[in-house]
């Protein structure tokens, strides 16, 4: 249970307090309502590049990190297709430092050209290290555009190609900042041993005079219902053939999200799942296989991924996976199996609330989405899923025509 209190500043900044008196540390989490789905299709990877620039100094403060480290704090950030999230943890008695730093970079960045030049190189190295210099590293660069044809989820957060990052200009940076990094497009969550009155005073002092920006109307193209199975093949010097399959499914806060999530668990969560027991243990076609869901805000993906044993062809592996998927789609799931995946999910959910920072993020994401109360709704939604729900959801999501398959051929 994540309890919270809320208030809003005149400039539109929404602020939440999650009080926890048991810890000497505080978490300060700011989520900006902008992700790679908001990018121009010819300037992809920009939201993430921009995240790097947020650490390159603001109007009055040369370095973001050093003053925070000096008061015993740590911080990091990440960009997803949906949001860009910044978080700080520090001793609660030094919390004002986080307000000073975060508010100054929300007020204005330094827009130093050298920062852009260096971070452009750093991000290009990140692109290479994670996506190009790793076996199977480019899977998402290929699977996303196969699965999505209209919605901007069709490109990865790192960007479609290195060229887009090379081409970013300081003008792009400024436009992006003054459009998306405004208080009315952000949500601030503070968690720790702090009183509401204290928080209100700090928030007003540091964030109160930041001007609001124009309201943003997000009008993203909807991904049409997929009606034909898609396949594509790629080849690389990897040790084993591999297969990646994506099915469209509901978004993170859709009422049916957990039903789809539990279907992915039945298919491929751990060694007692159907795909693993059948394809790794019994038929010995795969070296590994699993399934998971992407908890994106707009309709997301249920993904099956597996590495095939040496000597097993991609056609044979794919046919075997499709057979299991078809079985799960057609059959009525037993009460015991449903109970199993619910228990696994409950366990994971409870573990996710142990850390203060995770609670702060969960609240920030639901509040950013528009309904903070959703952060306490997961357990109940999970328990409410019935066998009937599972059958209906499987019939829609696991349709063969809803699938996009990347066949990854080993050249070795």
């Amino acid at each position: 249970m994540i309890h919270y209190e809320h208030f809003q500043l005149a400039n539109g900044l929404n602020i939440y307090l999650h009080q926890d008196k048991t810890t000497p540390m505080a978490a300060v989490n700011i989520v900006y309502n902008v992700g790679s789905r908001d990018e121009d299709e010819n300037k992809t990877g920009f939201a993430h590049l921009f995240e790097h620039l947020m650490f390159g100094g603001s109007k009055n403060i040369q370095s973001f990190d050093a003053p925070l480290q000096k008061v015993g704090g740590e911080n990091n950030a990440f960009t997803s297709p949906d949001v860009t999230n910044y978080y700080v943890t520090l001793p609660v008695e030094n919390i004002e430092t986080a307000f000073w730093l975060e508010s100054d970079r929300m007020m204005s960045l330094s827009f130093d050209p050298k920062v852009l030049e260096v971070q452009r190189k750093v991000v290009i190295e990140e692109f290479k290290q994670r996506y190009l210099n790793q076996p199977y590293g480019d899977v998402w660069l290929k699977l996303r555009p196969l699965t999505y044809q209209k919605h901007p989820y069709r490109w990865a957060t790192i960007g479609k190609e290195i060229k887009h990052i090379e081409d970013a200009t300081l003008e792009d940076v400024k436009d992006f900042f003054f459009r998306f990094y405004r208080p009315n497009n952000a949500t601030l969550v503070v968690a720790g041993n702090i009183e509401l009155s204290q928080l209100k005073a700090l928030a007003e002092k540091w964030f109160g005079d930041i001007p609001a920006g124009e309201p943003i109307n997000r009008n993203l193209p909807k991904e049409p219902r997929q009606n034909e199975a898609r396949y594509t093949t790629t080849e690389a010097a990897v040790p084993l053939n591999a297969l990646f399959k994506a099915y469209h499914m509901p978004g993170r806060y859709d009422k049916d999200y957990f039903t789809a999530d539990l279907i992915s668990d039945v298919l491929g969560r751990g060694k007692s799942s159907r795909l693993y027991t059948s394809l790794v243990q019994d038929q010995k076609l795969f070296n590994s296989i699993s399934a998971h869901v992407m908890g994106s805000l707009d309709p997301g993906m249920l993904v099956i991924q597996g590495h095939l044993n040496k000597g097993v062809s991609l056609e044979e592996g794919n046919a075997a996976v499709e057979k299991i998927v078809e079985e799960v789609k057609e059959m009525k799931l037993g009460e015991k199996e449903l109970e199993k995946v619910k228990n696994q999910a409950e366990s994971t959910l409870q573990f996710s609330e142990v850390e203060l920072l995770n609670r702060a993020m969960s609240l920030a994401f639901t509040a950013n989405y528009g309904d903070p109360e959703l952060c306490n709704a997961d357990a109940e939604k999970l328990r409410a899923v019935t066998q009937y729900d599972m059958k209906n959801m499987a019939a829609e999501v696991l349709r063969k025509e809803n699938s996009s398959t990347l066949l990854y051929q080993s050249k070795n």
């Binding site: 520090l90 030094n94 004002e96 199993k340 228990n343 850390e355």
Partner: protein, 424 residues
């Protein structure tokens, strides 16, 4: 309007008392350590045996033994075991390190009875079925082949071979033939010698009330156990050297530079902790500022200290633009030289000390984290106040100590350097 050019006042972190844990001796003499302060109904249970791969006769055993422990007993098949853990939201993990083996269960406190019955069964009656062994060997062989495609794996492997020696328990790596050579008999013999009927330690954290303690006591506390011997691992001085594993087709070079440094019981240890952190141990380190934030050669560069028994070793690591490999190496040497020649400013030192103190304070907030620290004290025989005095010891470090540590440990000619990629 606040003056935004002035940093708010702050308080440095004074000492942190690690919250105490409890110890209970179970009926069979096995110690159960408890950190019971969770707000969620979950637990983490870790069972430690003196059963690392250093005790194994065959090098390949480590590639399959921990997996095979969950693959079947005389009463239950591997599928039944994993099915039952999953049915009750439990996640078992077995990991075999060099001298220890740990069996960890993450799960819901309300189902501890189910987890313990299964665990007891595994600790008494594991039988390593042949068919599962064939599957597991194949999976391990293919994972090895995948790892051999990863530059980070290749670099680390060569580094530990050179640092510890190819036949040393910490340096030994395995090949596909080593995996192939393992048979059921090897697993059974190892199990009989190191696990079955042998003593262990239990670390339980999360929501553990008297009820859960009783369940543990009635199951694992009723197993007859005897003590096992502990292996003595000695460490020889390595020969410094430079090694290149050519990967001309790659876009980046992966580099690792390593050497022995002071262990946790050495008075140099805390001085070296501050020195290493300044050099490459956090985002604001000198290496990050130079190689990433100034030159943009890499997504990240770091230097870390890894304790092993009473020793420790330092590793500098990065993936850099291939064309800047030599330049990066030169810059690393330059940064070492600066630390040897010049005293650190009091501002920089204060920042590093406060960062380390805050980072430590932030890493002992949950029951799981608190237990991890206590476990370190218990398993490595550290002083009881090791963590309680950590911040004090860090704050005592002076600029001169840092220069002295750099002079003692930052000599490129004494290091082992491994490059995977191209040295251009």
């Amino acid at each position: 309007m606040p003056d935004r050019t002035l940093a708010p006042a702050f308080k440095p972190i004074k000492s942190i008392q690690l919250p105490a844990i409890k110890k209970i001796d179970l009926p069979n003499g096995v110690p159960l350590y408890l950190a019971d302060f969770a707000q969620q109904d979950v637990l983490k249970l870790e069972i430690y045996f003196e059963a690392g791969h250093a005790y194994a006769a065959k090098t390949g055993l480590k590639s399959v033994f921990s997996k095979m422990l969950l693959e079947g007993t005389s009463q239950k098949s591997g599928s039944e075991i994993i099915e039952e853990f999953s049915q009750y939201g439990g996640f078992p993990e077995i990991s075999q390190q060099v001298t220890k083996l740990n069996f960890t269960i993450y799960g819901l406190s309300k189902f501890i009875g189910q987890y313990m019955n299964l665990t007891k069964e595994i600790l008494q009656n594991a039988n390593f079925p042949e068919e599962q062994l064939i599957t597991q060997k194949r999976i391990s062989t293919q994972s090895l082949q995948l790892n051999l495609e990863k530059t980070a794996y290749l670099a680390k492997r060569k580094m530990v071979e050179e640092l510890f020696g190819v036949n040393h328990p910490y340096g030994r790596s395995h090949e596909a033939e080593d995996i192939e050579a393992v048979n059921r008999e090897d697993l059974s013999v190892f199990y009989e010698n190191r696990i079955k009927g042998k003593s262990f330690k239990i670390f339980a954290s999360g929501k553990i009330t008297d009820e859960e303690i009783k369940v543990i006591s009635d199951t694992l506390g009723s197993l007859p156990v005897e003590e096992t011997n502990e292996i003595t691992v000695s460490f020889d001085q390595p020969t410094p050297g430079k090694y290149l594993i050519p990967k001309p087709e790659n876009m980046q070079s992966t580099l690792r530079i390593a050497r022995y440094t002071a262990g946790r019981k050495d008075p140099d240890f805390f001085k070296m902790m501050v020195t290493n952190t300044t050099f490459g141990g956090f985002f604001g380190s000198r290496l990050m500022k130079n190689i990433r934030e100034d030159k943009g050669y890499t997504y990240g560069i770091s230097s870390s200290i890894s304790p092993v028994k009473d020793k420790a070793y330092m590793t500098i690591g990065s993936d850099v633009v291939k064309q800047n490999t030599l330049d990066t190496l030169a810059e690393i040497e330059k940064e070492m030289k600066i630390m040897q020649d010049e005293l650190i400013s009091s501002d920089e030192l204060e920042l590093v000390k406060n960062y380390l103190a805050g980072s430590f304070a932030g890493s002992v907030t949950t029951a799981f984290e608190v237990m991890t620290r206590h476990k370190n004290i218990i398993l490595n025989d550290l002083a009881d106040d090791y963590y309680d005095t950590l911040i004090d010891k860090i704050s005592e470090v002076e600029p001169f100590d840092i220069q002295q540590m750099a002079q003692k440990y930052f000599n490129p000619s004494e290091m082992i350097e491994v490059i995977v990629g191209e040295k251009i």
